[in-house]
């Protein structure tokens, strides 16, 4: 029972977390917490086979599948807060709360009676007992399960398969397209420019500067600009100016000797950034 009282609050908290976290990845990790805790509760209740299956199938396979799909769909595809049906969220919470209270009260009033325990059922071993049941009384359900699994596998393959509508462009086609773009739109046929390399920023999220001082948009990855994490060159310059000013303020009174040297070196950084 100790395991239960330790795990139950963790599980309820993790499950509530699934309701409130914004990102799907966090929800998947919280679900993993719930599932591993459930596996331990199965072990506590003399179901070692289900403990193994829960960890291997749920935590190992199903959750990994969830994480793969989250990665394919986009990690930052978070929930929209717009309600299509007005008041639906509040109503769902109220109904859920009512349902939960009703069920818990109902269960609290029922007595399950004497607990038989698994000692006699697990006498020949849990796996052996389950196998005997599966292949005698539940053999038809078991056979139907195999049909279900093969249908699911084929269905997933059909749904995930993408039919190629146009032939795949070969290297010759791509080279021709590049030269045509150059001839018609004047687009540079060579590789794209590198991102900016400055004294304080040499990361891929800072665009390079053209000779006239404007940032070269094509020098940073399209994905980064879609996420809005690209630093602009003026921003970096302001960053440097702010740093210099803060340095001047903080060190002016306390350590006047240090104030001059970082300011002068940062000035050159700012120069380069501009």
């Amino acid at each position: 029972m100790t395991a239960f009282w330790i795990l139950a609050p963790i599980m309820v908290l993790a499950a509530l977390g699934i309701l409130v976290v914004r990102k799907a990845v966090h929800a998947a990790l919280l679900l993993a917490v719930v599932m591993v805790s459930l596996a331990i509760l199965y072990l506590v209740q003399d179901a070692p086979f289900l403990f193994a299956v829960q960890i291997i199938v749920y935590t190992g396979a199903i959750l990994m599948l969830f994480l793969f799909v989250v990665m394919l769909v986009g990690v930052d595809a978070s929930d929209s807060l717009v309600e299509t049906i007005r008041g639906q969220r509040a109503l769902a919470l109220v109904i859920g709360l009512l349902f939960g209270v009703t069920v818990v009260i109902g269960i609290a009033q029922v007595s399950v009676g004497a607990i038989a325990g698994m000692d006699t059922a697990n006498a020949d071993g849990n796996v052996q007992g389950l196998a005997e049941l599966l292949f005698t009384s539940y053999v038809f359900a078991f056979e139907a399960t195999s049909a279900l699994l093969i249908t699911a596998a084929v269905g997933a393959m059909v749904l995930a398969h993408r039919e190629r509508l146009v032939p795949k462009p070969s290297q010759t086609d791509l080279a021709k397209k590049r030269m045509r773009d150059y001839a018609e739109h004047g687009r540079h046929p060579g590789p794209l420019p590198n991102p900016g390399v400055y004294a304080r920023h040499n990361a891929v999220d800072t665009p390079a500067l053209l000779p006239d001082g404007t940032p070269a948009e094509s020098s940073v990855s399209r994905v980064l600009s879609a996420r809005g994490t690209v630093k602009t060159a003026p921003e970096v310059a302001d960053d440097v100016v702010a740093l210099v000013e803060r340095d001047n303020h903080s060190t002016a009174g306390a350590r006047p000797t240090r104030a001059a040297s970082p300011a002068s070196s940062d000035d050159t950084d700012g120069e380069e950034v501009r």
């Binding site: 029972m1 239960f4 599980m11 309820v12 499950a15 509530l16 699934i18 309701l19 799907a24 679900l31 719930v34 459930l38 509760l41 199965y42 506590v44 179901a47 086979f49 289900l50 829960q54 199938v57 749920y58 396979a61 199903i62 599948l65 969830f66 394919l72 769909v73 595809a77 978070s78 929930d79 929209s80 717009v82 299509t84 769902a92 919470l93 109904i95 859920g96 709360l97 349902f99 069920v103 818990v104 269960i107 609290a108 399950v112 009676g113 607990i115 038989a116 325990g117 698994m118 059922a121 007992g129 389950l130 049941l133 399960t145 279900l148 699994l149 699911a152 997933a156 749904l159 995930a160």
Partner: protein
């Protein structure tokens, strides 16, 4: 070791899963909440198996797991297909039949 706390925990997890299905808008998270509900049912099945002292409840939980695995595979493939055509994983955006 009494059985009621396990059943109550199972009911609470089931309720949380149900509320999640109703309130969340991301199709993947909705699916995770469905999984949470299935898991809560499994906990109740295993507990009742212990109460009755036979293995039928555990076999039922095993079947639930198999069906859940099949359901997740097909469901996630559907979500992927919808995302590919509509560039969105929100359940509100799949509303073509409405108009």
């Amino acid at each position: 070791m009494e059985a009621e706390p396990f059943i109550v925990l199972s009911a609470i997890l089931f309720t949380i899963g149900g509320v999640g299905v109703l309130t969340r808008r991301n199709a993947i998270v909705v699916f995770m909440c469905v999984e949470l509900m299935l898991n809560a049912c499994n906990l109740a099945l295993v507990t009742f198996a212990r109460v009755h002292g036979n293995l039928d409840g555990q076999v039922a939980a095993f079947f639930v797991m198999v069906v859940a695995a099949a359901e997740v595979v097909v469901g996630l493939a559907i979500i992927m297909t919808i995302f590919r055509t509509r560039r969105s994983a929100s359940v509100d955006d799949a509303s073509l039949l409405k108009y």
